[in-house]
Assembly symmetry: C2
Homo-oligomer: 418 residues x 2
């Protein structure tokens, strides 16, 4: 098997309110087995449209996975559509029926008649048991191709896929596998980055190089499909190494780690502790520092000192300093970082003060003006940023830049610099 | 026009790393014009597959919108695939060429030869100018149906759609329009909610009722397609009103507002001010209170008192109290809320202390144990929650519950209760 399609079933995914995300998990798992996704579709709860979509997909791909539409209600039509597409009768399966009855009994309830529909299986289909819910998955082979039906709830889908579909796919997958590396880069415009590395990755024509801009920096995806895993891994790692060398310390991750994870690891490795005083980011930097498990080892505390009074009370910023330079100033940023470091006893103090907008800007200090300071034993650094865009973007970029300043500080300290 | 399909073009959206989100914006705009989406697909950068997808979609739908694949590189094949599908030659368009050359000139650069491809338009196609980039959109009619090509970058796509596609669609859309209302509900399991309102919405068979569980509570979507907008709005609002009445104060929004927005509005209306002391949520509550523009009016400040020392220093929690009851306790939650209220002078103090996991749990206080307290002039309330799931989920549910406690306090105070 080399080519797959995924069909997500459900009218709610054709509204502006919900996306299919199961396909991301499935794609990752399929890629790992050397199976490439050639198309994905979302189809509403319409039996004829769904039948046609299944038939078309089976003409193009070895493997078709339909997710959702296996519930007990009349809107759930994936079983019927699969039966129509393959010309196989739906047959009640006693084991599935017992399983569903058992689940209801354990909850002290009687199975609703509707749920009997969930025990219908297209003739010749293999039942894939669902330990977490009522709807089983189904594996059906036809004309050398496979159609897999999986329930929509992500937990149930992942469980059935991992327990029952993976082993069946492993038997059928070719020797080809995918090697993937993800590098993350901070603080560099996409065009500059491409200019610096295009000359390198173009000499690795066998490796797919994809550059994606995200709010958390630029991602460089390197992908190689090969039957010789070890050689492919060497080849991709060689390219990753050359790219990392060309971009220098702007590369913060060569193994897919997020900036939050990298910073948490560097803090832990260094035995450092951190405290944060932030205004315009409103708690976002503290939130990101603590969203990694184990953060209580290095996170001493944070203050969201929105008002001038709280900058003075919590971060020890002299009121006169704020009066003289304004709350959004290098001087106040420095005083906040040093103050919160002092009051918490942390080894590093990090501060942000700025104007996220939409209000509060002036000609000298327009919306997007942000001062970030880092205080440590070696002294205090401060940087001025001017971010474009709306409130949410300014807040996200400011938090990203603060964590990136912290990362560079920790890396340099580890390497014996200042 | 009544039925549309969207085709998102780009191999990167067939990886585990990126989703098509342009379709959410387009769906909302189309729905507003009474045009329903019947399918969406993602296709890689493959000319033949893309041609087939366009042809199939044009057989099913009046309107097909293809997004992406209009860039200057050899991977960008949407123009070619559209030309193949419709049997129309690609013709260079001088105006587009001038526009692209002008953009480069203004940046002080010479247009790369590659960019000439972006000036190719299928014969008979109407150019939709792109003021924000080089690739124009294209509108092509064939056999009474319309194929629209739009560039993938969201800003450019939205701009061209709003400026040029909407007017063309308005001329062709029928009189049918969509009325949509979104109610949001907090603090109620989905099955209980359905049980309480099914008897109501089932008597409104003409209105589509969709219930979706999200991390920010349950969403109830009410949708009605009609040619008589005023009557449809009355009908949907009547149903919304009956549902809101049946669910009582658990309904926090009847117009799609988020909890963050509702809380910000209630605080502003009441002239109240708020301060937060949080531990396990690590700044998330402060972040949510400040992500709404204008929050400096009501947000006094927040502390992320991860360590016991900072609970004492910043929120005035007596060290002996922590010693006696543990940092995760009703007593400490109450002291944190009262302390941060006192130290900031805010009218309301809100606190959270709990165990987000994965470590730190015990038999008496398992992971997911969270105390939330609210201190106000009328006194202090405290509640114990036990959330299931992983660290991220516990943090999100805890922040949601804290904001919901705050909302109910403000609503009751407004209504003259306590």
């Amino acid at each position: 098997m080399r080519h797959a399609e995924i069909i997500a079933v459900g009218s709610e995914m054709l509204t502006p309110f919900r996306l299919d995300t199961n396909s991301l998990f499935l794609t990752e798992e399929l890629n790992r087995l050397g199976i490439a996704l050639i198309r994905k579709s979302v189809i509403g709860d319409d039996r004829a449209l769904l039948r046609d979509a299944i038939l078309e997909a089976l003409e193009r791909a070895d493997l078709v996975i339909a997710t959702g539409g296996l519930g007990p209600t009349e809107d759930d039509l994936t079983r019927e559509a699969a039966s129509d597409a393959l010309g196989r009768r739906l047959v009640p399966n006693d084991q599935v029926l017992d399983h569903i009855r058992g689940r209801f009994a354990r909850m002290g309830r009687v199975m609703a008649p509707n749920n009997e529909r969930q025990a219908l299986v297209p003739e010749g289909g293999q039942v894939l048991p669902n330990a977490l819910g009522t709807a089983p998955g189904v594996w059906i082979e036809a004309g050398g191709r496979a159609l897999v039906l999986l329930p929509g709830p992500p937990g149930e889908l992942r469980h059935i896929f991992t327990e029952h579909v993976l082993p069946l796919l492993e038997l059928r997958a070719g020797a080809r596998r995918m090697i993937h590396r993800l590098l993350r880069v901070a603080g560099m415009p996409e065009s500059d980055l491409d200019h610096r590395i295009a000359v390198i990755y173009k000499t690795y024509a066998d490796v797919e190089t994809t550059i994606l801009a995200t709010p958390e920096g630029i991602e460089i995806h390197l992908t190689l499909w090969s039957e010789d895993l070890a050689a492919a891994a060497r080849r991709v790692d060689e390219l990753a190494g050359r790219i990392a060398e060309a971009l220098g310390e702007a590369v913060f991750s060569i193994n897919g780690e997020t900036l939050d994870e990298v910073v948490a690891r560097e803090l832990t490795l260094a035995g450092a502790t951190i405290a944060v005083a932030e205004s315009c980011t409103g708690g976002l930097v503290s939130e990101r520092l603590t969203n990694v498990p184990g953060s209580s080892i290095f996170f001493r505390g944070g203050v969201v000192s929105y008002s001038n009074e709280m900058k003075t009370a919590w971060a020890g910023v002299p009121a006169a300093l704020i009066e003289r330079h304004g709350a959004v100033s290098a001087e106040v940023a420095i005083a906040m970082a040093e103050g919160v470091r002092r009051s918490t006893g942390a080894s590093v103090g990090l501060s942000i003060t700025g104007i996220a907008g939409p209000g509060g800007g002036s000609p000298e200090k327009p919306v997007g003006t942000v001062h970030i300071a880092l205080a440590a034993g070696q002294g205090t650094r401060e940087r001025l940023f001017r971010f474009g865009g709306e409130r949410d973007r300014v807040r996200r970029l400011a938090s990203q830049s603060a964590l990136e300043m912290l990362r560079r500080h920790l890396v340099r300290a580890r390497q014996g610099g200042s």
